[in-house]
Amino acid sequence: MPPDAAATLAARPQRRPRAAHVLGQNIGLVLAAAILLASAVVFTLMFVIQQQRLPGSFEITSTVNNTMPLAVAAIGQTVVVLTRGIDLSVGGVIDLTNALAAIFLAGSPLHMIVVSILVVLVGAGAGLVNGLLVGLGRLQPIVVTLATLSIFQGLAIRVLPQPGGSVPAGYTNLLVNPDAPTALIFLAVAILGWMALRRSRLGVELFAVGNDEAAAVALGVNALRTKIVAYSIAGALYAVAGLFLAANATSGDATTGNSYTLTSIVAVVLGGVSLFGGRGSAIGAICGAFITTMIVNILFYAHINPLYQAFYEGLFLVVAVVLGSLIGNLLRRRG
């Protein structure tokens, strides 16, 4: 007779209370949310002091709309980083998809839907190339994606040699409505998608490969397929980021995506996703993306010397990351 599962569970001595366990498991996410909350509070205080009013609909909407491309790109970066990879081609894929969107989007609603889907497929294809090179070629992700970054950037310039093109107003209103933060709905959808992925077989495999590839393979996980799928999903998400960027700018520029390579990694790190793979949450990365925007906001209202702005940005990041890891270590040791 097999042992009664419930009985064995109950008999096992509980190592720590459930709440502490959950906290220990999600410490990165909790810290990211805490930093985001703290930076939002600081921003609100500075805003109230200087403007004698609370941040209104415009401030919230523009913060959300400006962060959308980064938030979506950071989810993609998370998926790759979870497999113990890293993706530097983010900027190139965003450049390329942003350029494609600016050229081909204009048309009827149906046309816009078709073009959007095609653009996302282009992104997924770019990710597939990365995944194949990393997985099949057994090459270092940082080398592969550094090379494909240049390739995608080059393609983007070919597609759109000079900034231009246009995005229909209806498309902009749908994705990044300038009058209300409706873009949050897309974020909610992304979070739901993440939670579903987390519970799916693929999600488990992502974490398994990132934690210990050899062990995962021994347990029957197809590591190659997992990596290829991870990079492809990431590529598709970068394409979505490119669409949001185009919608926000209302036109295209084949170089505006470049900065997202670094900022997406920053968002992932701030979001508590471990660069060593196997640990982290896309929700944390979204928080990380919003933290970077909040830092820009805070520095704006602090009216610091613009020449030192990059310095302070870096300082904020270091402090946030160091604090995060210190608190994380403390909590884990206590638990």
Binding site: N66, N248, A249, F300, L307, Q309
Partner: protein, 362 residues
Amino acid sequence: MVGMLNRRSLLAASGIGLLAAGLPGRPFAAERKLKIALSNSYIGNKWRIEMENLFKAALQMEPYKSQVEGSWFNSGNDVSQQSQQISGLIGERVDAIIVNAASPTGLNGILHQATERGILVVSFDNVVTAPTAIKVDTDQFQFGKKLADFLVEKLNGKGNVIMVTGVAGTFVDKERNAGADSVWKQHPGIKVVNRYTGMWDSSVAERNTAAILPSLPKIDGIWCQGGTDGVLKAFIAAKRTPLPPTAGEAENGFRKFMTGYMSQKVDGLSIGQPPYLVLVSLELARRILQKSHPRKDITIPFPFVTNSTVKVGETVFPNLPDSFFADFTDSGADATVKICVDAALTGKACEGKLDVRLPSQA
């Protein structure tokens, strides 16, 4: 310097805010200063630093000192950051935003929102395509054409010329080259024996010139978009002296050659994309907000000097580095703006009033 100015205005603003907390309406509505902000992108080169220094200096000079409350921001070449900063300026309810954009198109969305909220947007240098933004710029086609015209005149329409071009793929490079080509077409006696890039950078221009010179015949004229002093130094290193007539940018080093430098003297024409475009933008914003100028794009003439007009201490500075842009000020009787060198170097105010002449409304 910057911090002080801003901190003071910040303290004043919050102080007034506290006093007025219980009172209805705006306390300083009667003689409110115009809030004009500069949103700059990249700040990593001399041109941009001089440009921002001029803006700071102007804010401490009349009429701006008493009429304008200015602020300035840099975002680097990161469109989302510049966009977020402009959102902040909209939130602060400034009256006008002057933009040197990280992308000609990337800010169109947020700038549209600014103009929808009644904020005046003036874009200069790297101008934006947003139709609601007022544009202040120079005519780059004319830049290339004027340089070429000078050489045609100096060479009497006959001789070998090299063209040192700029950063390929940019609008400015294309226009300047087209301007030059339009002149060469009418003067078949002029032979362009080589055309290579100097990347608008003196050291790149010097390196590329040094590499290519040995393969070239005698050069009778130099047409150079940028990095002119580097080209001349390569000529000297290759013992191609005396230096041929040269039409180039506004590097201080080039102008030093025009007045005598490294025991050489060159017959030259020096034209520049002036950093004071920011002052023209500031003046235009002030005038439009005070309703004394129509809401219209303006193109300003390039500042230029020749050997007969270049003046030590005014348009060329022997004590300053070769890479300094000596066109921070205009010169001559019809000057758009005249400002002292300290303003460009340190952002300090000059003596007297600042008089910016906008082109007449034709």
